[in-house]
């Protein structure tokens, strides 16, 4: 009985392991987004493929916010008119620093680490979530 039970358990484990891909053919979490000069001051630049907003402030420097709503993963939009993020799916609203102001979203938008590489380009690492006051001064 024990042998049979453990055999079944091992087989089930193998099935689950089989279904977890060993290689993810997905865009990398760390990527370069270009030179600092590519980004204007003022309203953030939306990078559609990476789903991020790149903020550039004259005094404070660069910051990168996630465009993925923390509720159910829809892509939020940034509106210059009220300087807030709005989610089209269920009406969540986030302040300019990412904090939830309205709607069903359970937590603030993520901010990602942005650094500079040797060749002078900006690099974003989506695996490294940073506080909303994180800035890269260029």
């Amino acid at each position: 009985m024990v042998a049979l039970g453990s055999g079944v358990a091992v087989s089930l484990g193998a099935v689950v392991r089989f279904l977890v891909p060993s290689v993810f053919y997905e865009p990398p979490q760390t990527f370069k987004i270009g030179n600092p000069a590519d980004f204007p001051f003022g309203p953030p630049t939306f990078l559609a493929d990476e789903k991020i907003f790149v903020f550039r402030d004259r005094e404070k420097g660069f910051a990168v916010a996630s465009a993925v709503c923390t509720h159910l993963g829809c892509t939020v939009g940034y509106f210059q008119s009220d300087q807030r993020f709005h989610c089209p799916c269920h009406g969540s609203v986030f302040a300019a620093n990412g904090a939830v102001q309205h709607g069903p979203a359970p937590k603030a938008l993520n901010w990602f680490e942005v650094t500079m590489t040797r060749d002078g380009q900006l690099r974003v690492d989506k695996d490294k979530v940073v506080p909303s006051n994180y800035r890269l001064m260029v």
Binding site: V16, L19, V20, P21, F24, Y25, E26, F46, A48, D49, K51, H71, L72, G73, C74, T75, G77, F79, H86, C87, P88, C89, H90, G91, P104, P106
Partner: protein, 428 residues
């Protein structure tokens, strides 16, 4: 001529259908037909007892399998090609739009019919002993129907598909402990992409239909074993107790040879060996009311089949399945709505993802599964079941109201917008 007759006889191996023996043999010598009894109670076939909803649901499933296999010939489950193949089905493939529309409308109709069938079974008290577990199988079949609809939804790889699946799988990730892992397993990755499409395809064309067929067979088998279609027994005239004829084997203490027999009823070996498979006792008057399945039951089933198929065909001629723009992960349509049967869920989710998306649906499913074991009232007469009927009606109405709100009263940003107020599309 003799050879032809001999070949035909070797295939059917029964007496001519003009004889009673032939009519019985047609049913029980045929592997497909013998899920029917050779004779049925004529009363059970009345349309207003069941509205044939179970039959219709099964026929819709048959349409879905047939059109689904046809569509598979022109579909490649990889991101850009999947959408191009949809366009081909829309504009290039002979009868492509018609087949795709049939598949779409039959799927929607199946969700409706499964739900109505569940209501019919509840209101007639047909889930009561000995059919409790068949109700449970029915609930699982309802979940499989929704699962098939959900997985089918991603396949066109248009905006609607992409965002419905993004939202849907994110709802799942709110499930405690395993939520995130289940989502990753389902998507084969962290976002809805190539891996997710192939996995949903495998689920949609292989895994879920197989489970559906297995459970459907059990569902039908148990109906047969439990005495056939469930009729409103409370409407039957009370019978004189001394005239009861028990179908099936006598109590274990009695010798087998005392099995009661009537002159025109054949007793199968199964009924003798398994004790008492049929729970209803029938009166001699009802025994006379029984008719041969051929042609009475088969004729009615054939009518239901033809009405279902022609109905879906007619709808598909005039209304084509929609197809939105190619999936664009960067731009969420506003409002992003799930298919109508999930809009009740989406309405709940817009208030709270954990409570509305996980807790409430889980409780609903558990409540449905528990109904036959929780409801100890043996009576099937509606006037004895006021509480049960009230509770179930509230359940049905709440679900319908949520769907109506989600469908007609939600505008951009999921704001409450009545359908008679015109919102300019794209207005921010």
């Amino acid at each position: 001529m003799n050879l032809i007759r001999e070949i035909w006889q070797s295939i059917v191996r029964r007496d001519p259908l003009s004889t009673d023996k032939g009519k019985s043999e047609l049913v029980f010598l045929n592997v497909w037909l013998h899920i029917h009894p050779a004779k049925v109670k004529k009363e059970n076939l009345r349309f207003r007892y069941t509205f044939y909803l179970g039959f219709i649901t099964f026929f819709l499933f048959m349409i879905l399998v047939t059109t689904g296999i046809a569509l598979m010939c022109y579909y490649r489950p990889f991101p850009p090609q999947a959408y191009q193949d949809m366009k081909d089905l829309q504009f290039v493939v002979f009868m492509g739009p018609f087949l795709r529309s049939m598949h779409r409308w039959a799927a929607h109709a199946m969700v409706v019919c499964v739900f109505l069938h569940m209501c019919r079974v509840f209101y007639s008290g047909s889930y009561k002993k000995p059919r409790q577990f068949n109700w449970v199988i029915g609930v699982l079949l309802l979940l499989l129907t929704l699962g098939l609809s959900f997985t089918g939804y991603l396949l066109p790889w248009d905006q609607l598909a992409y965002w419905a699946i993004t939202v849907g799988t994110n709802i799942g990730s709110y499930a405690p402990l395993v939520g995130g892992q289940v989502r990753e397993l389902l998507l084969g990755g962290h976002t809805v992409g190539e891996a997710a499409l192939i996995r949903f395809y495998v689920l949609h064309v292989a895994v879920l239909p197989s489970l559906m067929i297995l459970l459907t067979v059990v569902h039908f088998w148990r109906i047969r074993k439990d005495g056939g279609l469930s009729r409103p027994t409370w409407r039957l005239k009370p019978s004189r107790p001394e005239a009861l004829v028990t179908i099936g084997a006598p109590p274990e203490t009695a010798p087998l040879k005392t099995v009661p027999a009537s002159k025109d009823k054949t007793y199968g070996l199964m009924e003798v060996v398994t004790g008492k498979p049929i729970f209803e006792t029938i009166t001699p008057e009802e025994e006379e009311d029984a008719v041969f399945s051929y042609p009475y039951a088969f004729f009615r089933e054939a009518i239901a089949l033809m009405v279902t198929v022609t109905g879906i065909m007619a709808i598909s001629l005039f209304f084509h399945a929609p197809l939105e723009a190619l999936a664009n992960p960067a731009k969420t349509p506003n409002p992003a709505k799930a298919p109508w049967y999930f809009l009740g869920l989406q309405e709940l989710v817009s208030h709270s993802a954990l409570l509305g998306g996980v807790v409430a649906p889980a409780l609903m499913v558990l409540a449905l599964l528990a109904i036959p074991y929780f409801d100890r009232n043996p009576s099937r007469r509606p006037s004895d079941r006021k509480w049960a009927i009230w509770l179930f009606t509230i359940f049905v109405v709440v679900n319908l109201v949520l769907i109506v709100i989600g469908t007609f009263f939600r505008g951009p940003g999921w704001a409450f917008v009545p359908p008679w107020v015109h919102v300019v599309a794209g207005a921010e």
